[in-house]
Structures are given as structure tokens and as C-alpha cells.
């Protein structure tokens, strides 16, 4: 069973789609990172939290048929790489749609959803998924 703090410390980022922007080069990042991989030490102290718009497009997608226990109830589900308007590419599910409507290049926006269950007695974990525009 996962300790609550492990989930709690990421909630700000997962609930609100908050990442980091390097104020040295202007590049945005998700997931959160403390150092800019382009600016290295120049970015120390210049990484700032930024809330993304939640808008983006599908870079690639797949229907997952074989999933770990925490996702068994959701099978089959759509997983995608979503390129956010601000630049970062994130891994997330696509929901509330006819799978036939999903395609590379389709515009999407963020939705707040239940992500997984940690067994029958553990916490229910929430975060971002995406819907077609």
C-alpha cells in the first residue's frame, strides 16, 4: 500500500497541470524538474512554477489491453502522448470519446479524473486526463 505522502506531494502538479519554466532560456517543462537540461547551472534559482493551459494535441495514441492491477477495471483504455500548447509532451489517458474519433493531431484539453486505485483499501489517486475538443 502506498504511503499517502507519496501521492500528496505531487497533487499540486497532477491536479492543476503545473510544471516548470526556465527563466534563463524560456523553455517549459513537465514533469516538474529542478534544473533545465539546456541551461544546466545557469538555470539554478531560475526555475519557476507555471500552470499550463491544459490545451494541446495528440502526438500519438494507443489502446491498452494489457494493464497492471490498478488499471484492470479501465481496460481497454486510450493512452496518448499529448503535446501541450506550451511545448512539453506528457503521457496521459484520453477519455469520454468514441475511440474511432481519436487520431494523431486531434486537439485535446485537460480533464480532472480518477487515475487509479491502490487496491481495495488504499487511496484513490486523482490527476489529469484529456478529452477531445
Amino acid at each position: 500500500m502506498t504511503e499517502l505522502s507519496r501521492i500528496w506531494r505531487e497533487t499540486e502538479y497532477r491536479y492543476n497541470l503545473i510544471g516548470f519554466k526556465c527563466n534563463n532560456c524560456g523553455e517549459s517543462y513537465f514533469p516538474p524538474r529542478d534544473i533545465c537540461p539546456h541551461c544546466h547551472r545557469e538555470s539554478i534559482g531560475k526555475m519557476e512554477k507555471v500552470k499550463f493551459s491544459g490545451n494541446g494535441e495528440i502526438l500519438s495514441y494507443t489502446t491498452v489491453h494489457d494493464a497492471p492491477p490498478a488499471f484492470k477495471r479501465q481496460v481497454p483504455y486510450l493512452l496518448a502522448l499529448v503535446k501541450l500548447d506550451e511545448g512539453p509532451v506528457i503521457t496521459a489517458q484520453i477519455v469520454d470519446c468514441d475511440p474511432d474519433d481519436v487520431n494523431i493531431g486531434k486537439k485535446v484539453h485537460m480533464a480532472f479524473r480518477k487515475i487509479r486505485e491502490d487496491g481495495t483499501n488504499g487511496v484513490i489517486e486523482y490527476g489529469y486526463k484529456f478529452k477531445l475538443d
Binding site: E10, S60, Y61, T62, P68, L81
Partner: protein
């Protein structure tokens, strides 16, 4: 001139669902085979490097170095024994650490073993553990599995370069054909392209025959310095070069989702250090945990332009083709016991280069390229063997 490093012995267990064998049984079996094959004695061993990916989570056993040394009967000798972990590239990473230890002049004789015991977890629970090779908090947390990430890469690749699913299936067909000649392989059945295409979906466009299996297995080799080889009149295969490179952990962070940059960088370094050309390579073993990676690797190792690997998968990669790939059966058919894979590749290449590969022997095999990759491409290790 620093010490050259030679492989003077190799051994492995069968790969597969080996329910009667434990983590330690497997490690010891492979280790003893390698030591016997090399004709060396425990008193001569300077160090042991053990490769393993997931024993901590699957078998709830850490301290793998000590475990291997102890149950190989070497605890009384006080031989240093450490574990090397680099996810699914742990095997080749351990070979590299052992290579460097001899190259530095510190050691003359080192045993390198890799082991993974994956069937100790029931049902889909293993998929949860296997997904730890991804970014747990930002990929796996949201429902990604290793197959799903490979599928995301495959979909975009097929879309952008107009590649048909059949090209991916051909990679698995080749693996199965080669494995049918390998007694250590997990799956020795031949596969038709239709069977591969019609197998059950896992994460589309990938289906079961695009995915390596869950495997148990172990492999071990004995590395020796040039001094040791000369003094003891040993025969062996020279490690011409060893290189490793890294990329972002998550697929989404990378410059291009279908470019294995770590593979590209490691291959460039390995060729430069070995002083040979791509045309000189007699055969390759590549890390095709998913068929799509096989194609990407042909490209990023420098044997085809991006999007063009489809031209190699029908004929060139066959055992009797221009560039034989995975004569062992590869990860798809020989098997994919994470920490053992990279060393299993060396075991097979050693047999080829010593002309002891039996039915799957490649004629005039002179140089081998071995590629072992971590996760979805976060790390790649390339070795070139020969002479």
C-alpha cells in the same frame, strides 16, 4: 598500451518459465557453466559483477552480489561481489564495468553474471513491477506500461514514415526462426507473419507477437586480461570496444520520440573506439523487447536511415542474410529475463565467434555488435567483439 580484455568462457541457463528454479539456482547454474567453460579456478577470480534489474521488487531480494558469491561457493574466498543495475540494460552495463576493471589494470580475471527471476509473481502483478523501468510517477502512474510506450512510438513512426505493421511482425518472425535453432531459447516455434499479425492485441498497433515474454534466466561470462590469457594459454574473443550513453528517462521528454539517441551515441562511440566500419560487422544482437525497437535500432545503430529499416527486415536480417540480426532468437524468442539479457547476448556472440554456435552458426563470423537498452531507450550499451 593498456590491457586488452578477452572473453574466455561463457554459459547460460535455458530462458523461459522455469518454475522449479529460484533466483539463486539460476545465477549459480550460469556462473558455474561459465567458470567450467573457461577452465579457471575460484582462487584466480579477482571480482564478480552481478547484473539484475528487479529482484528487489519481484523476489524481494536485494544484496544480489553477496547472494551470487555465497551460493556459488565463493564466500570463503572473500572475492568482491557487486551488483550492477541499469534496468533492462543491467547485463551489458555489468559487462562494461568488468571490462573497465580489467582495462584499468586493477583485475586480471572477472566473472560477470546476470540473472532475472520474473515468474515469481502471479498474473498481471508482474506488469506493475515491469512498469518500473519507465518513469513511475509521470508515465506508469497514468496507466503506461512498457508495451504501451513502445506502441505510442510505433504508431507515430508508422504514421510519419508510412511503415506497415507487417514490417514490425517480420522482426519477430526472424527471431522465432533463429530461436528454433537455439536450445536455450524460451520459444522455439517458428512463426508465420500471419500468426504474428493475428495474435491478440496488447497495446495497438502492437500485439502479443510484437512483445518479448516474461522470462526467467541467467547468463555468465568470464573476462580476462591479456596477461592472464597469455600466461594461462587461453583462447578467447576480444572486446574491441564498450560504450554507454543516456537520454531522457521519459519518452515524451525526448527530442524525437522515435529516435533512440542513447543508442545512436553509444554506437558512434563504440565504432570509433573499435576502429572498424559498419560494413565489417558479421552479425548483431539488438534489444528488441518490442518489435518496433528492432527497427529503430537498425536505424539508430547506423545501418539504415530513419524510416528505412523496413527495407532490411525481409531478407537482410536473416541468418544467411547480408546483416544477420539476433541469431540467438533475440528478446522476442530467446527470451527477456531483464538483467540476464545483455550477458546472454555476449554468451551467444562468444559461441558464434568461437564457431561453436551449432545449427545457427554464421559462416566466417568475425565481428559482432551487441546492443542492450534500458527502459524505452533511457540508456544504451553497445559492445563490439571480434578477433
Amino acid at each position: 598500451m593498456l590491457n586488452n580484455v578477452y572473453i574466455i568462457g561463457a554459459g547460460e541457463t535455458k530462458f523461459g518459465e522455469l518454475w522449479d528454479k529460484s533466483l539463486r539456482n539460476l545465477a549459480v547454474e550460469a556462473g558455474l557453466k561459465a567458470i567450467e567453460n573457461a577452465g579457471i579456478y575460484s582462487r584466480d577470480i579477482d571480482a564478480i559483477y552481478g547484473a539484475n534489474g528487479l529482484a528487489g521488487t519481484i523476489n524481494e531480494q536485494e544484496n544480489i552480489g553477496a547472494l551470487i558469491a555465497d551460493f556459488s561457493g565463493l564466500s570463503t574466498e572473500g572475492i568482491p561481489a557487486l551488483r550492477v543495475e541499469a534496468s533492462t540494460a543491467s547485463g551489458a552495463a555489468a559487462v562494461r564495468e568488468a571490462y573497465l576493471s580489467i582495462k584499468s589494470g586493477e583485475y586480471d580475471l572477472v566473472v560477470v553474471g546476470g540473472v532475472e527471476k520474473m515468474t515469481d509473481i502471479h498474473g498481471s502483478g508482474i506488469l506493475e513491477k515491469m512498469s518500473s523501468i519507465l518513469d513511475r510517477e509521470w508515465e506508469a502512474f497514468f496507466g503506461a506500461t512498457p508495451a504501451a510506450m513502445a506502441a505510442l512510438i510505433a504508431r507515430k513512426y508508422m504514421n510519419d514514415f508510412n511503415v506497415e505493421k507487417e514490417a514490425l511482425s517480420m522482426f519477430s518472425v526472424n527471431d522465432h526462426l533463429n530461436a528454433s535453432k537455439n536450445p536455450d531459447a524460451q520459444y522455439r516455434n517458428k512463426l508465420t507473419v500471419q500468426q504474428a499479425m493475428d495474435s491478440i492485441p496488447v497495446a495497438d498497433p502492437l500485439n502479443m507477437m510484437d512483445c518479448s515474454p516474461v522470462s526467467d534466466g541467467a547468463a555468465a561470462i568470464v573476462l580476462a586480461s591479456e596477461n592472464f590469457v597469455k600466461k594461462n594459454k587461453k583462447e578467447g574473443v576480444k572486446i574491441l570496444s564498450s560504450a554507454v550513453a543516456e537520454d531522457y528517462l521519459s519518452v515524451g521528454s525526448r527530442e524525437s520520440i522515435y529516435t533512440l539517441k542513447s543508442t545512436r551515441l553509444a554506437a558512434e562511440k563504440a565504432f570509433k573506439k573499435a576502429g572498424i566500419k559498419r560494413d565489417d560487422i558479421s552479425f548483431m544482437e539488438v534489444h528488441d523487447s518490442f518489435s518496433i525497437y528492432g527497427l529503430l535500432e537498425l536505424e539508430d545503430l547506423g545501418f539504415a536511415e530513419k524510416g528505412k529499416a523496413k527495407n532490411l527486415v525481409y531478407d537482410d536480417i536473416k541468418l544467411n542474410g547480408r546483416l544477420p540480426v539476433n541469431p540467438s532468437g533475440g528478446l522476442k524468442a530467446k527470451g527477456d529475463p531483464y538483467g540476464a539479457v545483455g550477458i546472454g547476448q555476449v554468451v551467444d556472440a562468444y559461441k558464434q565467434l568461437m564457431e561453436k554456435a551449432g545449427e545457427r552458426q554464421i559462416k566466417h563470423a568475425r565481428y559482432a555488435l551487441l546492443h542492450n537498452m534500458a527502459g524505452t531507450g533511457a540508456s544504451s550499451v553497445v559492445h563490439i567483439l571480434g578477433e
